[in-house]
């Protein structure tokens, strides 16, 4: 299904409306949904865009709902529900990070041996994409002229072709591709029916583990068997380990061809080029990029961009981002949680400790949500914004944790409700003005000043004595 078809599908529109409906306060929800669904029936042009407007409408209703605090809490009033929600979010983020191929690649160590000396070579100004950029004639020129810098250069080009009866994504590749990558290809023991015939074809086929399982039922005797690939015979030479292909192009198999076969391709056939740098040459830094110029056959120079396949130390990068986000947090929001004066109704040490543990759990759960969530988003959108995205995400998440903590009762940890405006700016010199919130279970009142003054510099909690209990029971 193409993206255009997908955007035009009725189930998607209803799913958008149902998602937005969750933002609408319960008593109004069914009528709200019925109205939007009825309206959708008439929309012919850009129904998905029409449905996205439902979110703004739902947010408006949520903000203006007479239900106390309905606009802010999203059902997270209870501390246990809040922790459960964060835990589920963290679990989903981590699950997606290990399921989405691009995100998983960023987490797991490189499968390539000595990845510091591996480089992806692209045409100048076209690096980093999923589209082949180097014509095979330029690859041959590189292979001939750059032997002093590279111990090996490999070429591959993704294509869709028929292998036996299935349509597979096959990489047409130079014979040294897996030698350059230093990927161990497991040559499974040939089965009784899989003995290599005497006149074995020169073309070798390497299968991915996923394709071997899906299309050949994990047949241990597949190696040595001759398969028909795009009408030509090719012998299965092995199966590569799972998750060991992280280069551009999704592949089910690789058709390794000798130089003569590659030379027969049209000279402008574009593919991806990999190079293994000689150890005598200065080693590139992880994630480094550099330019390469090679004299062309027709005069002038062919210009390329090389990018290292070694990843930087992701752990250190994440730790430094977390540290910077904590520094920036103090600039963007006050860190003080408020005044909770001790009195005879004040909570015992255990209750006070419970409040700090609650905050600590929130902060700890935020880390996997922000780190893995950024990876997931980067993988879904195929955009490289992890450092900046993580920094922004962490600052927003830390801020939320602090704001949420300030708005909770120190005794029962439930979100406070019934915000009431008190006074006005003209009252500032006579008394404090701001917002008063109340614990629905009668544990106390929170005074939040609009402007910090000498008499009320930060929010202050007032415990209610048990005599108020009859009002809240």
């Amino acid at each position: 299904m193409t993206p255009a078809h997908w955007l035009g599908s009725a189930p998607l529109h209803l799913a958008i409306l149902r998602t937005a409906a969750w933002l609408v306060p319960g008593p109004q929800r069914s009528e709200w949904f019925a109205e939007w669904r009825a309206e959708l029936w008439y929309v012919e042009r850009s129904p998905a865009v029409f449905c996205l407007g439902a979110f703004r409408d739902a947010f408006w209703l949520r903000r203006n709902s007479p239900t106390p605090n309905a606009c802010h809490t999203f059902g997270l009033e209870s501390p246990s529900r809040c922790i459960l929600f964060l835990a589920v979010l963290a679990a989903v983020s981590m699950f997606l990070a290990f399921r989405l191929p691009l995100a998983r690649d960023m987490i797991l160590p490189s499968p390539y041996g000595d990845a510091r000396n591996l480089a992806m070579i692209s045409a100048e100004g076209r690096s980093g994409g999923q589209i082949p950029t180097v014509p095979i004639e330029q690859f041959q020129s590189l292979a001939n002229r750059m032997q002093h810098r590279f111990t090996g250069l490999a070429f591959y080009r993704p294509m869709q072709t028929r292998v036996q009866t299935a349509e597979l994504s096959v990489g047409l590749a130079s014979a040294n591709l897996f030698d350059v990558l230093q990927i161990p290809v497991s040559s499974l023991a040939p089965g009784p029916g899989g003995r290599q015939p005497a006149g074995q074809p020169a073309t070798r086929l390497i299968l991915s583990r996923a394709a071997w399982r899906k299309y050949f039922d994990a047949d241990p005797g597949i190696v040595g068997r001759v398969l028909e690939v795009g009408g030509q015979p090719a012998v299965v030479a092995g199966v590569i380990p799972a998750n060991s292909w992280r280069l551009p192009g999704r592949m089910d198999a690789w058709l390794l061809q000798d130089e003569a076969h590659l030379a027969a391709l049209p000279p402008r056939t574009e593919g991806f080029v990999l190079g293994r740098i000689r150890t005598s040459v200065t080693q590139p830094q992880p994630d480094a990029r550099w330019r390469l110029s090679v004299p062309a056959e027709q005069g002038g120079y062919d210009r390329f961009e090389c990018s290292s396949l070694a990843y930087g130390n992701a752990g250190m990068a994440y730790l430094s981002t977390i540290f910077v986000s904590l520094l920036l947090l103090s600039i963007t929001t006050p860190l003080a949680l408020g005044e909770y004066p001790a009195n005879r109704h004040s909570p015992t040490g255990a209750i006070g400790l419970r409040r700090w543990i609650f905050l600590a759990i929130k902060l700890v759960l935020i880390l996997p949500i922000a780190c893995c969530g950024t990876l997931d988003l980067a993988a879904i959108t195929s955009m490289n914004f992890q450092p900046h995205g993580l920094l922004v995400g962490l600052i927003l998440a830390w801020r939320w944790a602090l704001i949420d903590q300030r708005q909770r009762c120190p005794v029962c940890l439930r979100l406070l409700s019934n915000p009431t405006r008190i006074g006005g700016p003209s009252h500032m010199f006579l008394e404090w003005y701001g917002t008063e919130l109340i614990c629905a279970r009668g544990h106390g009142l929170l005074y939040v000043p609009e402007i910090p003054t000498s008499c009320c510099s930060m929010q202050r909690w007032q415990y209610l004595d048990p005599s108020w209990g009859s009002l809240f029971s």
Binding site: A38, E39, G53, A54, T420, R421, G424
Partner: protein
């Protein structure tokens, strides 16, 4: 949010240009959200919240059409909006503020006149 101390404020309703256009569209007979969208060219994310505000301020009122009418038309029942008395008064006041409004979306009375 509650306000413990309320100061007297002017009760004269002043509509934004967008709200006035939507009110005029409803007055002109475009009685449901999508019709207002088509008439005004405003997106759904603007029209529906604006209609909620107008309804909250009692300038318009809504009612669902009966299921039998919808069934006869083989479509889901619509929610229709109409101007209230104060809505009509506000719209008339808005015509002084936005003189081109009535010419932009002529109401049935203006067309018959």
């Amino acid at each position: 949010m509650l306000h413990r101390y309320n100061l007297p404020v002017a009760l004269e309703a002043k509509l934004s240009h967008t709200a006035a256009i939507i009110l005029q569209a409803i007055h002109a007979g475009h009685g449901y959200g999508f019709s207002v969208m088509e008439m005004t060219g405003l997106p759904s994310g603007t029209v529906y919240p604006a209609m909620r505000r107008l309804e909250r301020d009692s300038l318009i009122r809504s009612s669902w059409e009966s299921q039998s009418i919808a069934d006869a038309g083989q479509r889901p029942p619509r929610k229709y909006y109409k101007l209230t008395r104060s809505g009509k008064a506000t719209l008339e006041a808005s015509h002084k503020r936005y003189p081109l409004l009535a010419r932009l979306i002529p109401s049935p009375e203006a067309e018959n006149a």
